[in-house]
Amino acid sequence: MKEKTYEQAMARLEELAEILEDGGQSLDESLKTFAEAVELIKFCHQTLGGAKKQMQILVDDLQNGLKEIEFNPEEYRG
């Protein structure tokens, strides 16, 4: 499945909420809609619970150009 962004997931989730609220779908379709919504909610919750990411700093890798390494501000005190 193509990697989706949080923005896309939320947009789709809001669409599905509206569809369910309208109640216009058949029961089968409603259940499928609900199932899709559950998956999206799971995805969003997982994203929000993501672990803290440390800032990266770009350094010259000599042969390969720039690469990212963990940035520790203590090492750079002017």
Binding site: T5, A17, L20
Partner: protein, 372 residues
């Protein structure tokens, strides 16, 4: 007896000598302003002095209307004007037609000129400013690796949304080579996978911030594919980078607030949508309460359990309701659901001999043919 002149005659002679001397016409002189007065007439009168001497000066309304700064006592300026003599008082003065601040002021004039030119070209227009991404995953930061700016950004971003990835391209933020370093950093991030770029530094004097006023930097910011937030810390003055950027932040911390969403707000919003989904599903199920169909199988305990992890309270209520409505409990008492071509049959009158029906029991389905 030698010729004895009147005061008027002597003064007239002096006036002619001075006012016809080409060297004293359109001459440039630098000095410090004192005794400055702006008349109601719009004319400016002051004294221009240095350590050893002074000269009276005037700048009339027509000429001083073009000034882009306000003269003040103590200001060092360069005047261009002509010497004239005011006979009634026997004074000579320089009547200025141009005036500009000296030293830092020169830079300031260049800044104003560049700002005007770029504005005319449309580089500052709102129409060209890109919107910022609502949920960026990666944020590029261009600032010095030492200094408070980067640490402030880390703190604010970490507090608001810990799972957003910040990437620092360390760059000079003052002194020679600043503009070049900043442009290089922008080049890098435009080719990279960041969603938005913050470029800036902490506070400083106008001279310290000068690198952010360069034309090349301005044009590079304008040409960026990714949105740029400029954060050059200064209370009152904007640098040219601030005008061109897609957003301006007064400090690096403020830039992080703008760029990074607050995870608590995101969570609240998600909970809100989740509520709507559950309410909608619940309402839909209630509407179906009379019709007995396969939903017990489709909806089942398994589907509910997945959602249980997300919304315990609501779900307990929902599960209870489902179970009380569940046709399974009805079916296990000996009732069966008859469907013909997928449609639930509620009345015997809907069927005639020969019709093929599906009978759903609590443990599965069987096919049947109506006798009569």
């Amino acid at each position: 007896m030698s010729f004895v002149a009147t005061v008027a005659q002597l003064t007239e002679y002096i006036k002619n000598r001075l006012e016809r001397d080409e060297n004293l016409q359109y001459v440039s002189v630098k000095g410090e302003i004192s005794n400055y007065v702006l008349h109601a007439s719009g004319h400016m009168y002051f004294t221009l002095k240095d350590e050893e001497s002074q000269i009276k000066a005037a700048m009339f309304r027509g000429a001083n209307a073009r000034l882009t700064f306000r003269p003040e006592n103590g200001m060092k300026v360069i005047l261009t004007g002509s010497i004239s003599v005011y006979e009634p008082r026997g004074e000579y003065q320089i009547v200025a037609v141009q005036m500009r601040p000296e030293g830092v002021g020169d830079l300031y004039m260049q800044f104003e000129a560049l700002k005007k030119r770029l504005a005319q070209e449309g580089l500052f227009d709102e129409a060209h400013k890109k919107p910022l991404p609502a949920y960026p995953k990666r944020i590029g930061v261009i600032t010095s690796a030492n200094g408070a700016a980067v640490r402030d950004i880390m703190t604010v971003a970490g507090r608001r949304c810990p799972f957003v990835q910040l990437v620092l391209y360390p760059a000079l933020v003052q002194g020679a080579g600043t503009e070049e370093a900043l442009v290089k950093a922008l080049d890098y991030f435009d080719r990279s996978t960041v969603d938005v770029v913050i470029i800036g530094r902490g506070g400083g004097s106008m001279e310290d911030l000068w690198g952010f006023n360069g034309e090349r930097l301005a044009r590079r910011i304008f040409a960026m594919q990714k949105p740029v937030i400029s954060a050059v810390g200064h209370e009152t003055d904007f640098t040219i980078a601030d005008f061109v950027a897609d957003r301006r932040a007064p400090t690096p911390s403020a830039a992080a607030e703008i760029a990074v969403p607050d995870v608590r707000t995101m969570r609240q919003y998600l909970d809100g949508v989740c509520d709507r989904v559950l309410t909608g599903a619940e309402a839909r199920l209630n509407a179906e309460a009379d019709g007995l169909s396969d939903y017990a199988e489709l909806f089942g305990k398994k589907g509910l359990e997945r959602l249980f992890a997300l919304k315990e309270e609501r779900l307990k209520g929902l599960t209870g309701k489902i179970e009380s409505l569940s046709p399974l409990s009805v079916l296990s008492r000996g009732f069966a659901v008859a469907t013909k071509e997928g449609k639930t049959i509620k009345k015997a009158s809907e069927l005639t001999g020969g019709d093929e029906v599906s009978l759903r029991f609590s443990d599965g389905e069987k096919q049947a043919v109506i006798k009569e």
